[in-house]
Each structure stands twice: as structure tokens, then as C-alpha cells.
Symmetry: D2
Subunit: 219 residues, 4 copies
């Protein structure tokens, strides 16, 4: 998206390789809560298509028994009135995402099961200050498919942490969304070049349904 010069520079630097895929994927759904998926909230936009595509991916994961994990951002009085969250000093608008409010509720169109982890986070990354990495290790996961919102915020931060944490990372393009097109595209460019493969929904569905039959590479 950034032009031919950038393409040549990135090719020279060795960016844009494809990542291997393991035999134990998990789907991580970042912040598809009503505060992000419903346009009437200031922090939200209409993510109906992203929610639908993520629902399809979750259904595919159930077929192979791949774990599905969800996150929500939810702040309490300690964070908002108590001043215990530095991010809210820079991003005070997020303070409306109160624990217990409908904005922090998972989008009800998503088929969460009772035993799917729901991780409450206070930062951008699903990994920072949470036990997500430990859960993925416990569940013997080697590859994560990251879905959710927003592409330029919590998805980007979670993708970077996922590969830093040792997981191979896939981002199904249909399963991530943002409130603005420019940052969405710019961050998918960075992600695909550097951190994880941005892939089509058909590819994602086939892989999750049958991880060992679709080119899975077990190092």
C-alpha cells in the first residue's frame, strides 16, 4: 500500500516471508465486545461482518477441538477514578469501557462456550498483564489465529506479542476490523510484512478444521 519504493526496500530487508503453521492452533478473539462492535458507542463501529466471519472461524475450530479464547477490556474504579492505569492518561476515551457495563460485554452474536477463557485486560495487547501466554502453553498451542478489533490497536499489539512469545501467527483478513480504513490497511501491511501472515478466510477455515492436513509444518 505504500508504493514501489517501500516494496523494494522491504524485499531487500527480507520482510514478507510466510510463517510456518503448527499442528495445534488456537483462535484468539480480541475485544469483540459491544463497545467496539456497535456503532452507537463512541469507541465502536459497525463490525457486523467481522463478527460473522469470526463466528464462522470459531465454528470451524470446534470441529477440530482447537481452543478458542476471548478478551475484553474492562476498567474499574481503581483504573478510572483511582488513576492506576497509565494508558487511560493518554487515552481517557477508553474509560467508558467499564467493567459490568454493556460495552465490556462480548458481542452476543459470538458463540462463546462456558469453558472458553475470557481474559480481562487493561492494555492494548491481549498478552500484556494477562495469563494468555500461560494458557496457550498449558493447552499445548503452537499457532494462533488472531481476530478482533481494532486492527490498528489491540490486534496489532497482540500479534506482535504473540510472535514474540514464540507462537506462529495468522491473521484472517475477514476477521479483523477497525473504525477507520487508513490505519486498518497500514497495520495489516506491517503485520503481514513483519509479524504474521494475513490470510484469506477460506485458508483460515480449512487450516483450523484440519490443522495436520493442510500443510502444517511441525518444527
Amino acid at each position: 500500500m505504500h508504493g514501489d519504493d517501500t516494496d523494494r526496500t522491504y524485499e531487500r530487508a527480507g520482510w514478507g516471508a510466510r510463517t510456518p503453521r503448527g499442528s495445534r492452533p488456537a483462535v484468539v478473539v480480541v475485544d469483540l465486545t459491544r463497545g467496539f462492535t456497535e456503532p452507537e458507542f463512541p469507541t465502536g463501529s459497525d463490525l457486523t461482518d467481522v463478527v460473522a466471519a469470526t463466528g464462522d472461524l470459531i465454528a470451524a475450530a470446534r470441529e477440530s477441538g482447537a481452543p478458542v479464547l476471548f478478551t475484553t477490556i474492562a476498567y474499574g474504579p481503581a483504573d478510572v477514578e483511582g488513576g492506576a492505569c497509565a494508558w487511560l492518561r493518554k487515552a481517557p476515551g477508553l474509560g467508558i469501557l467499564r467493567a459490568g457495563s454493556e460495552l465490556a460485554d462480548l458481542d452476543p452474536r459470538l458463540p462463546r462456550q462456558d469453558t472458553d477463557p475470557l481474559i480481562v485486560k487493561k492494555g492494548a495487547s491481549a498478552f500484556f498483564g494477562t495469563d494468555l501466554a500461560a494458557m496457550l502453553v498449558t493447552l499445548r498451542v503452537d499457532t494462533v489465529l488472531i481476530c478482533g478489533a481494532t486492527t490498528s490497536g489491540c490486534v496489532r499489539a497482540s500479534v506482535v506479542d504473540a510472535v514474540q512469545s514464540g507462537f506462529d501467527v495468522l491473521v484472517p483478513r475477514a476477521c479483523v476490523g477497525d473504525r477507520a480504513a487508513g490505519p486498518h490497511d497500514a497495520n495489516l501491511f506491517d503485520i503481514d510484512a513483519k509479524y504474521g501472515d494475513v490470510i484469506d478466510q477460506d485458508d483460515a477455515l480449512a487450516y483450523v478444521r484440519n490443522p495436520t492436513a493442510t500443510g502444517a509444518v511441525v518444527p
Copy 2:
């Protein structure tokens, strides 16, 4: 940079507030190593201006005794031949940044002192898998000025982790650089909107020289 629609959307979401500044800043210099600052290396580009501006900021930090910390990316046989680093599976081009090679050496134009920490990292963020946060806590730092390269890679990742870790974050625009203009601009946009203030060099110099005299806000 993304147009009027994005501006309106971001204003509605409450992005773009200014961050407070504490009385104990530190300068964190991310990956200004020869592999990134010299254009003859595939991973590099000519960052002469960034190195000069960062040198000026370091000199200002010496005046007030503000800590200065450096990072370098350096991979060993365990990472490259041993396969112990997942990021190298997606970004094999980084494997030329070998520990002990000139690419992993700090740019010699930077005035590092013997007691300035030099943190060796394997990921994008200066904080991930390192003791940087612990060092900043030990040194009683409350605000970090992040310099270095690349804006769209290790700087962006470090900025996100810094504010998640509880620090207020400033990014002096003259002190960060990238090998390509599009990703540089797109990431400064995200940073300034969401994670830390992108500021002018004069502002950065004045603040670091005298943190308690230039509007420092101690919560």
C-alpha cells in the same frame, strides 16, 4: 494523514489526548545499531539525522542526570541455527544481526557511557523478554522518551509496551527513523493518537534538561 473521516472518527473515540509528564524521565534508544543506521546493510538505511538528534537528546539528559538506556538486537547460534526464536521464522532477514558482528554494534556516533544499560533483545519491543521495565523501576523513572529505529517496528512495539508498563511516553519526532516513509508516517499517527505524544525536538530537549520546570505533572 488518513483524511478527514479518520480525524472525525478518532475525535469521537477520544483519541489524541496529551499525556502527562513526570519528574523522572529516561531516554530509551531502541536499536540504533549499525545494522539499522548504515544503508549498506540490507536491514539498514541512512539514519544520520536520527543519530545526530538522539545524540543531542542524550547530551541534554546528561545535564539533568536522566538515565539513558540502549538496546541492540543480536542473535546467536541458538536463535539462528537452533531455531529458538519464532520471530526469525517470520522474519528470517533479521538473522544477519548476529551477536558479535558489526551489525549488532551500537552506532559509534552515539555517546554511550559505561554505566548506561545496553539491553540485548530478540524481539521487536525493548521490553519483551528483557529487564528494561525492571531497570526503569529501579531507577525511579516515570516517563520515557523513546528514540530509535524503526518507527514501524521496534519503536512502535516499545512505545506500546512502555505505556502498558505504566510509564508516560514521549516520542521526539526527530529521534525516530525508518527505512520507508509510508510506514514511518502511519505509525507516528497511531502512536500520537493512542500511546504517547509525538513531540518536537525543542520540546524534548527542554523537558529532559529540566524535567521539573517545564510543566511536569507529578500525579
Copy 3:
């Protein structure tokens, strides 16, 4: 407690120094939940004296405005039925500490305020997989007083992480407790030798009431 040989060996190794104290302490109350403080629960013992001493320390902290933070262990269906927590594979007895149950409730004798953080954790350390360190940084804390239960479990693990995270650590002896005397004593020995000062209640109260007047060392 381990005899003269150990004393001589530890003196030679340089263990047992006293730690400095900063000007911004916080009180961290680890797992003083009903599941640990009430003897009728299998995981519990009668910690009435520990709760009372910790309540006194919290009251002293209110006088100086020092932050007070609490933790609770609370497992959900993902952890217990879903198998997402490795510690429960080794310590299945902890699985009775269910989120929403009275065992996960803070001991009601403790004077928690609405803006005091209550951190939900799944591991032994109050820092692991939580945003406790980030909160302490955000609140500009430099020294932590760790209270709670059990001395040989979550207190020990939290003390080690606190000093690793860059904080100076104090453990008021009256404010920590265990279900068995042997492990309690052995762990206080390790803590005082290596990680933080085990101190008397009078000392703790005086320090927290007026951190800058009682020998606080600001590095």
C-alpha cells in the same frame, strides 16, 4: 533457623543486607480471601491475627495516602473444567477457589475501598500474569510492603517478583501467615536473607504513616 553453619555460609555469601526504603510505598495484600483466612475451608487456616495486623497497616497507609492493592485467586470453568491452568494440574486442591464463590471473596474484616485495585490471579505470584507491576509504576510506587497468605506460597512468590521488578520489599512479620509453622519459618528465613526485609509491625506502621520521615532512602 537452620543453625550456625548456615549462618556462617550466608554471611560469607553476602546475604542478609538491609534494603533501602523509598518515599512512595504501597501495601500489597496477597490472597487474604476467605478460602485462606477461614479454617473451615480445606485451603484455609485461622488467620485472624494476620487479618487484624494487615488492617492496622492499611489504616496507617490511609494516613499518608499510600496505595493499597489486593489480590484474590479465582478460577473459572476454563481453568478447572477447560484445563487452561497448568498449576491446577499439580495443585488440583486449589480448584475449589472458584470465581464467584465465598472462598474467593476478600476477608470482610479488611477495609478495602472502592478505588483500591483488586487483582484476580491464577498463579502463586501476585505479579505473574497480572498488571500489578504496571499499576505500581503508574502510581509511582518505589517500595512494597507485602502482606497476606501463605508465606510459603503466594507471599514468597510475590516477594521474589517484587524485587525482580525493581521494587524494594518489606514484609511485616505480623501481616503474613501460613497454614503450617515449618514452611512459614523457612520461607521468612529465605525472604529476609535474599529478597526483602522481614520487619516488625511497629517499624512497618511508622514507615507507612510517614515514609519520608523514617529513614527513607531515595536513590
Copy 4:
């Protein structure tokens, strides 16, 4: 070791269960550096037997291709003269473990290969402020055997972090050592009750040689 009352209390609390074992073990060798294994250094004691047993375990790991990872504690001028490490404020005696000195060198009797990671750490835990967990994830490890010194210090801290990170933990009794018997025994008691199985050397050797043939439980 703490008497019948403690035994009964621990049984009631559900401590002491045996942990499952996975099909992908790794051997993590904590701080078997000359500063700890040679009695002429103030921080050291004669750990000849521990080094020999660990060498045998490493040889067994080579048979199955199980990864072997090493740690060393090594402080630089930033830590010692620069004051950037809080643990050295409590434990100044560790400051003799200087980077580049013989005390920070791995015990030469250990058969380290060039592609075995050697992780430099500043804290007690092999996981804290390092990329050890990320490496283990990248290498698809599910179970860690922790060896090294000292039992009451860095081994204990590493064991707690390992299980918190999602790994099942085994501690071969012959492969860990301490400078004093009391803390050694007390910490093995805590570890076996709560965090990982303390096992015999024969059991460890057989498991590492053939992880899938000796009762490995793959969740």
C-alpha cells in the same frame, strides 16, 4: 520434613499431587556457573555431584533430541555501579558475578553445545526478564526438568515461574544443590508439595531418553 501436623495440613489442602508429563521435555540448567559450583568463591560451594548428575541428564537429553538450555547470572557496570538492579540493593554480595569474569562462566564440566541457548539473567528466576518462556514455546516444549543452583534461590524461583508459565515441572533431586542443607531441604519440600515433582535420577534419565514411552501424558 516439617512433622506430622504439616503433613496432615497439606494433605487436607490437597497439596502433593503428581504432575503429568508431556511428550516434549527440555532440560533447563540454572546458574551452574563457576561462581556457584566452586567453593573458593564466596557465592559458591562444592557442587561436583550436582554438575555430574546434570551432565548425565544432558547426555540423556541428547539421545532423544530434547532441548537443553542454560542460564548464567552476570552483572555489568550499569547494574553494579549504575544502580539499575534492585536485587543488588538487597543482595550486594551477588555483585561479584560480573559479566566477563570467570564467576559468570558456565562450569566447564558441563557439555554445552553451540546451539544450546545461554540466557543471561539478572534476577532469581530464569524466566524473569528473559526470553526463556518464548524459547520454550518456539521449541514446542511442554515439560521442563529444572537443574542447577541454588535450590533455595534461583531453582525455586524458576520452578514457580515454569508452572505459572504453563509448563509441567520436574526437579531431579540429584541435579539441584545449595550451599546450605536446611534451605535446600525446605525448598524441595515446598516445590514437591506445590509446584513440580521432585524425582529420582533414574526416573529423570528414563523419561528424557524416551519421553513418549515412559508414561507421558499428553493433555
